[in-house]
Amino acid sequence: MNKEKFETVIGLEVHIHLKTASKLFCRCENIFGGKPNSRICPICTGQPGVLPVINKEAVKLAIKASLALGCRIKKKSVFARKQYFYPDLPKNYQISQYKLPLAEGGHVYVDGEKINLTRAHMEEDAGKLKHTAAGSLVDYNRTGTPLLEIVSEPEIKSPDQAARYLKILRSIFRYCEVSDCDMEKGSMRCDANISLRKKGEKELGIKSEIKNMNSFRGVRNALSYEVKRQTAELEKGGVIVQETRLWDEKKEVTKSMRSKEEAHDYRYFPEPDLPPLEVEETFIQSIKETLPELPRVKVKRYMKRYNLSEYDCGVLTAEKELADFFEKAVDGLTKTDEATVKTLTNWITVELSGKLNVAELEITRSRISSKMIAELVSLIEDGTISGKMAKKIFEIMWDKQESPSDIVEKEGMKQITSDDKIEGICKKTIENHSKIFKKYLSGKEGVIGALVGSIMKETGGQANPQLVNSKLRELLAEKK
């Protein structure tokens, strides 16, 4: 009912950690975790009189990520101070970019729908707070690590689409190797602006800003909760209060964060310690050349080359490592016709992915190599083994890490395809099942399935079922 009345409008602000060796404005090491306050210096702890020096690699990665999103890189961008008082920020201001960001525009396709981006800008991260009964403890290891913030236009239409948008961003950034985008470790974070409006209306409704969503599931659940909350409020004739709300993952509710009323008055001004960041076209071009083939382009190539469905290609390309595995496996096939590649795709996306999920392994640590799976598929396609036998062999491959041809050899699992052998087996089966044979003669042709089943059982699945089927029909027809 509600869905008919209102539509959801979501804009996301996504922060990703850039994978540099050192921090953005000082040379402290940039890695996750570690002993608290072990990677700090006068600059990132905001001691008086220190000066920030910007990390060239961070600029490169920020430009690379922005280019991957199709943004326009600005030749001149300006750093600004965003001022607020909170213990995770020892300088009492964060160096960010405000009026002149590094990148503007760009877009991401989510399930075929184009989501436009407003901007992408560089900034430094704040530290981490741990709240205890006695007081709050601050760890400045993360302070000053480089971030890229990507701001979308308010064009996302549902909590589900928001989660998928994030997954696509993660996929793109992992392809480019600019960030790990691990939401649990905080190397990808997300704040959302969400509002409702009457269907068909142009003007945006009053929004709330949701923070503290630490997983894809969290984003989906927090936004779904918010849709329900705002719908209920509007339906009883109330108004939405513009405010920041925190997602409480345990209680599965968003709560108003009243303490930060004045927080939005950041009094930005240009950072006097840093001249504008000016980048030359040749620098941008040299970074552009390092961009890999991105998932969306890969999908199109696979669809065209192998005639696979868009869904299959999406699964294969979601992670760069999986796409690399697939491409290596294709290289290992004896034939690369459409049918064989489709069989390979199914084995990778269904059987192998299933195994990896259960074992909680990444594809790079798969117990079955791309070469092994290509060999298995080649054995199926040339008729050496049946699909059913392949499943047994696959299990052994996973457990013992042996090659499929070795397993076939050892276990004597070759498929019976010789015409003579099949004919012999079929004749014997017809003799041994006179009851079924009589039923067949009385016109119940469906019973042939029972005969096939019996043969498959007897041969331990090694007889080729298609051959058995046609041979039985041939023999039975003769006897009619």
């Binding site: 540099t20 060796a21 050192s22 040379r27 402290c28 090491e29 940039n30 002993k35 608290p36 306050n37 072990s38 990677r39 700090i40 210096c41 006068p42 702890t45 001691q47 020096v53 910007i54 990390n55 060239k56 690699e57 961070a58 600029v59 300006v78 001022q83 008082f85 909170y86 213990p87 002149l100 707070l129 741990k130 709240h131 205890t132 009964a133 006695a134 007081g135 709050s136 403890l137 601050v138 760890d139 400045y140 925190l246 964060m257 303490s259 004045e262 008055d265 009094r267 240009p270 950072e271 006097p272 840093l274 001249p275 504008p276 960041l277 000016e278």
Partner: protein
């Protein structure tokens, strides 16, 4: 800039005035004088001048991305009002 704006700005900047009530008013008068003085710049025609974010002509220097450990962390801890067991400690923040 009236008294209320001075008070709001002071609050945002965590500046505490003494108890004497006339001080925000004093600041208001002084700030207005400064703003008026600087405001003369508004009379200039800047149509052909691109905005400047800072007065230094120097180009931004970029640093190589090699990490270096800062050794004297003890001194950083000593600068803090309360540092114990590896953490900077602050008053409990209620959210």
């Amino acid at each position: 800039m009236d008294k209320n704006e001075v008070e709001k700005t002071a609050k945002l900047a965590r500046l505490n005035f003494s108890e004497q009530e006339e001080i925000p008013g004093d600041f208001s008068r002084q700030l207005n004088k400064i703003l008026k003085y600087i405001g003369q710049l508004n009379n200039l025609d800047t149509a052909d001048i691109s905005p400047m974010s800072q007065p230094l002509v120097k180009k931004l220097k970029l640093a190589d991305d090699t990490s270096r450990e800062f050794k004297n962390k003890e001194e950083l801890a000593n600068n803090a009002p309360d540092f114990k067991d590896g953490f900077y400690r602050v008053k409990k923040i209620i959210e």
